[in-house]
Symmetry: C2
Subunit: 252 residues, 2 copies
């Protein structure tokens, strides 16, 4: 069967490492931009009355499939059909999201785990009777020895996050929680480096220092990834965020 995208997902989550593993209560909203000229205006009728929708989409960053996958929640490889990992024979994703609003061919949805640019193949209403399984369980997940880390934020970091949210960087707290709750020091999958007594996680042009002991993580501070020299160079600003970094440096 040939699938033709009905539209594409728009989100600030642009790279695989930014996406939540599952929709995250701290995450950002996203938008589905449906194609025009296809009668989708009609097909959307009554959708606004559906509180939650299933999105069937393409894992466009993951072209290859693997029968066994290493997930952050397990210390051994798991059969891909027993996981929601993207490395499937047919790279189809399935996510439940809250429907927020529909304007013409733009559908705003709540927190989600889709990357920017994901092709959308279908939208279905969540059915409160038929889509709920009683007493459901996933054995490998429950019996996994891999434990969630407890993450605490220092008062400094809390005020730094507040400052950055005020300057448009709203996704940082969710990003930190997602990246560090499982397998926090995996430098193959994350931009994380050891500095002896503490670790540093990179997010775009920002650096997050954290301590790690047993299953406890302390977020110590956030700092700019630019050097003083780079910050003073007014001619180049590839990421168009040097002004925020300068204000941040003055404040903290």
């Amino acid at each position: 069967m040939i699938l033709k995208p009905i539209g594409y997902f728009k989100s600030q989550q642009k790279e695989s490492y930014q996406a939540g593993r599952q929709p995250d209560p701290l995450g950002l909203h996203g938008t589905i931009q449906l194609s025009s000229g296809e009668n989708y205006e009609q097909a959307l009728q009554d959708l606004i009355g559906c509180s939650h929708i299933w999105l069937i989409f393409g894992f466009h960053h993951n072209p290859n499939w693997k029968p066994l996958v290493q997930t952050p929640r397990s210390d051994r490889k798991i059969g891909v059909f027993a996981t929601r990992a993207p490395y499937r024979p047919n790279p189809i994703g399935l996510s439940l999201v809250k429907l927020i609003d529909i304007k013409n061919l733009e559908i705003e949805v709540g927190e989600n785990d889709l990357l920017d640019g994901s092709p959308i193949y279908d939208i279905k209403p969540y059915h409160p009777e038929h889509d709920v399984a009683e007493d459901a369980h996933i054995e490998w997940l429950e019996s996994s020895l891999v434990q969630k880390h407890q993450i605490s934020f220092s008062p400094l970091v809390e005020s730094q996050l507040e400052f950055l949210e005020g300057h448009g960087l709203r996704e940082l707290k969710a990003f930190i929680l997602r990246q560090l709750e499982y397998d926090p020091t995996n430098s193959d999958k994350k931009r994380v480096t050891s500095n002896g007594h503490y670790w540093t996680l990179a997010y775009r042009t920002w650096r997050i220092d954290f301590s790690l002991s047993e299953k406890q993580i302390g977020i110590l501070s956030i700092r700019s990834g630019y050097t003083d020299e780079e910050l003073q160079d007014l001619n180049t600003d590839t990421y168009q965020d040097k002004e925020t970094h300068r204000l941040f440096s003055r404040e903290f």
Copy 2:
């Protein structure tokens, strides 16, 4: 994106009119036969520990899409994205089923709404945390004036059903409930005819007589769809069920 089936669904539900609209507690089990030579044995590891799975499959009986669909649950047409109807831009189905057993490349699942021969494109575990929406609703469904019919079976029918179940026709009760609960006299979609004081629903070679008043349906009796002459003709038996019909006629 080109989807290649990972396998096909095997079921006694062979025609669209036989399938439940949603998985039905009275329905039959089905089997997914996965393709061999694809390493799916490995991909299946740990799946047996998942109590419920999502099947992503093809609506292979429905090649055309319609932006607005008439569903049995509504008295007006509804945008297809707000329904689970098969007439979608990409004819992809999504169903939650109970996982019963796995033997080699055969996966047995519980009650379901898939037709025999449906191509299966993906299998994902149901995630008890992420796949549940709190306070979910579908407005058009709740505000629909179309009401469910109350269906009662006569004692004669109950014993006829028991007899037929004993002779391998296990799906008849679920079929009757599904076909008649909404829009029972729709002869465009169902093999149903009026006989003046009562109605008759056809299921393969069987005929089900029922009465209808307001929202009450009484299942009066089940009878053979063969004439006496046809039953006595021992030379032809296209559906290979004449022996059951003869036994049935002797009993009732």
